[in-house]
């Protein structure tokens, strides 16, 4: 499976090969895809736990994640809260093109590589290729859709189900970019990370992880989740993938039309 993604991405799209894969990518013409690839100036390597974008700083560039994991975090009262997780192909701070300053920080989880684009180039995209600009807008709204699901999840689920939901989401998102494995979701997350993304204490998170094991739904070891029971796990978490806008009821089969 992991091989497939490199094949899909190919050498033609080393920076943006995973951008909107499994979602709107198939509605972009070959020309558009090459155009998007050409916008990037090159890559930047970020060591684990390094901050890419700091809250409140004015940005004139945006970055797409090429490899590795990233978090969106908010710091409040000495604590860090994780409000989003990013995978390759995610245009992690495209938001900064319109917001200029971010309300949160974007940090590398493991060693990551990002490709960088200047905002003045994105402005050209808006001027010259409104269709591509709309696809980019779409990409930022996918994040908003995932945020809403997380709000819903925090409002309605207890810690074990939240953790199950987060891994179900990761599994689906990895499969959209052709990087999923059948039996495992590999992540570099620490126990503390898992606690910070599910809004509970480390002890609580540990207990929740044990509960998933006791229910024989999944085993989480060193940040990676192992399971042979995806459908039971999804059911337990109440996971419905449609908010990710891949294949499913919200999927944009027909493109935008007019």
């Amino acid at each position: 499976m992991e091989k497939q993604s490199t094949k899909l991405a190919g050498n033609d799209f080393p920076f943006s090969g995973d951008f909107l894969a499994g979602r709107l990518r198939k509605h972009l013409s070959h020309d558009d895809l090459y155009y998007i690839e050409s916008l990037f100036d090159g890559t930047l390597t970020l060591p684990a736990r390094e901050t890419l974008v700091e809250r409140g700083k004015r940005m004139d560039i945006s970055a797409i994640l090429v490899s590795g994991f990233m978090f969106r975090t908010i710091q409040m009262g000495g604590n860090r809260y994780i409000v989003g997780i990013h995978l390759p192909g995610d245009f992690v701070d495209l938001h900064a093109f319109a917001l200029k300053r971010l309300d949160h920080s974007i940090v590398a989880v493991d060693d990551t590589r990002v490709a960088v684009v200047q905002h003045k180039k994105l402005k050209e995209v808006m001027d010259q290729r409104p269709h591509v600009a709309r696809a980019m807008w779409f990409a930022t709204l996918l994040d908003a859709s995932i945020h809403r699901k997380w709000i819903h999840m925090m409002e309605s689920l207890g810690a074990p189900r939240r953790i199950a939901h987060i891994y179900c989401e990761l599994q689906t998102r990895l499969s959209l970019i052709g990087r999923a494995n059948e039996r495992v979701v590999r992540t570099p997350f620490t126990q503390k990370d898992i606690a910070d993304m599910s809004g509970v204490s480390a002890i609580h998170a540990n207990r929740a992880v044990s509960k998933l094991r006791e229910l024989e739904l999944a085993e989480i070891r060193r940040g990676s989740l192992y399971t042979d029971h995806w459908s039971a796990l999804r059911k337990y978490a109440g996971f419905d993938a449609s908010y990710l806008y891949g294949d499913g009821p919200l999927h944009l089969n027909e493109g935008w039309g007019r």
Binding site: G56, D60, R72, I74, M76, G77, N79, Y81, V83, G84, H95, F97, A98, L99, K100, R101, L102, D103, H104, K123, M126, D127, P130, A133, R134, W137, F138, T140, L141, D143, A144, S145, H147, R148, K149, W150, I151, H152, M154, E155, S156, D196, S198, G199, G238, S242, Y243, Y245, P249, L250, L252, W256, R258
Partner: protein, 270 residues
């Protein structure tokens, strides 16, 4: 000063005059304001709570909230969950222009007045007025910023503090668009809706509201939220307004262009 400007703005642009007020409206040219105002093709008055958009359906228009309040909701098996709310001037489902189908519903609470913009008009704006399109994009990302704050809030806060945070946010947002008053704001929000918005049961909300009242943080009565002390409310709700992109840390006084930045600071200083 701000309110006077807003008054004049609403006289000229009665439908969209509140859009981005207090945030990036100053970066909108007069022409852009005209274009947005005339992009609304239909205005609808809604008398009672109504679901105006269903998740999963395709829409060819987006909705500008002119008067009243709206909740974005996700239906659970038994409950409705509120994932955000909207005040007048919000382009509530502009998201739909890019997403076409939404992952959530849009419900009005109490009476409301909305304006519909055909996606055809929005497409023309994208093709012919990229700067205005960027402002529209900005407005949808304000929603995303609020969503992130809510995730944090739900990860961190007790029910009473969540409610204080919600009140603090509504109040600030209303004040930016010239609504509410110095002592609080009128709202048709019910306790049931507050439960939907805070992920708590009705009983929990009832108790939390009592706590807010007893500790002089805020008083919720039917149709009204009274606040004696903004600082106290905001401290209790761990509320910091930066994520709303009004004046403060993230404020874009200079708009999108770097050049304007200096000019604008001079104007505001003078």
């Amino acid at each position: 000063m701000l309110e006077e400007n807003l008054h004049e703005e609403l006289r000229r642009f009665p439908i969209t005059g509140r859009f981005l007020a207090g945030r990036l409206r100053h970066d909108m040219s007069q022409e852009e304001r005209e274009i947005l105002e005339t992009s609304i093709s239909e205005i609808v008055e809604i008398k009672k709570p109504t679901r105006i958009l269903n998740h999963g359906e395709i829409y060819d228009h987006s909705t500008m909230l002119i008067d009243g309040f709206v909740i974005r909701s996700i239906d659970g098996p038994e409950n409705r969950y509120g994932v955000s709310f909207h005040v007048p001037g919000d382009f509530v489902d502009l998201h739909c222009f890019a997403l076409k189908r939404l992952d959530h519903n849009i419900d009005t609470i109490g009476p409301a007045k909305v304006g519909y913009v055909p996606h055809e008009h929005l497409r023309e704006i994208m093709e012919q007025h990229p700067h205005l399109a960027r402002l529209l994009w900005f407005s949808t990302l304000l929603d995303a910023a609020m969503h992130r704050e809510w995730i944090m809030k739900l990860e961190q806060l007790t029910t009473a503090r969540r409610l204080a945070h919600i009140f603090a946010e509504i109040w600030r947002r209303l004040r930016m668009v010239g609504l509410g008053d110095e002592m609080g704001f009128d709202t048709p929000l019910t306790q049931a809706e507050l439960a939907d918005l805070s992920g708590a049961t009705a009983i929990h909300v009832n108790r939390a509201l009592r706590e807010l009242k007893d500790s002089d943080v805020a008083e919720f009565s039917r149709g009204r939220v009274d606040i004696q002390d903004q600082k106290r409310l905001e401290a209790f709700g761990h509320f910091q307004a930066d994520y709303l992109y009004g004046e403060g840390l993230n404020y874009l006084g200079e708009g999108f262009s770097q050049k304007k930045s200096l000019l604008h600071h001079k104007i505001s200083e003078g």
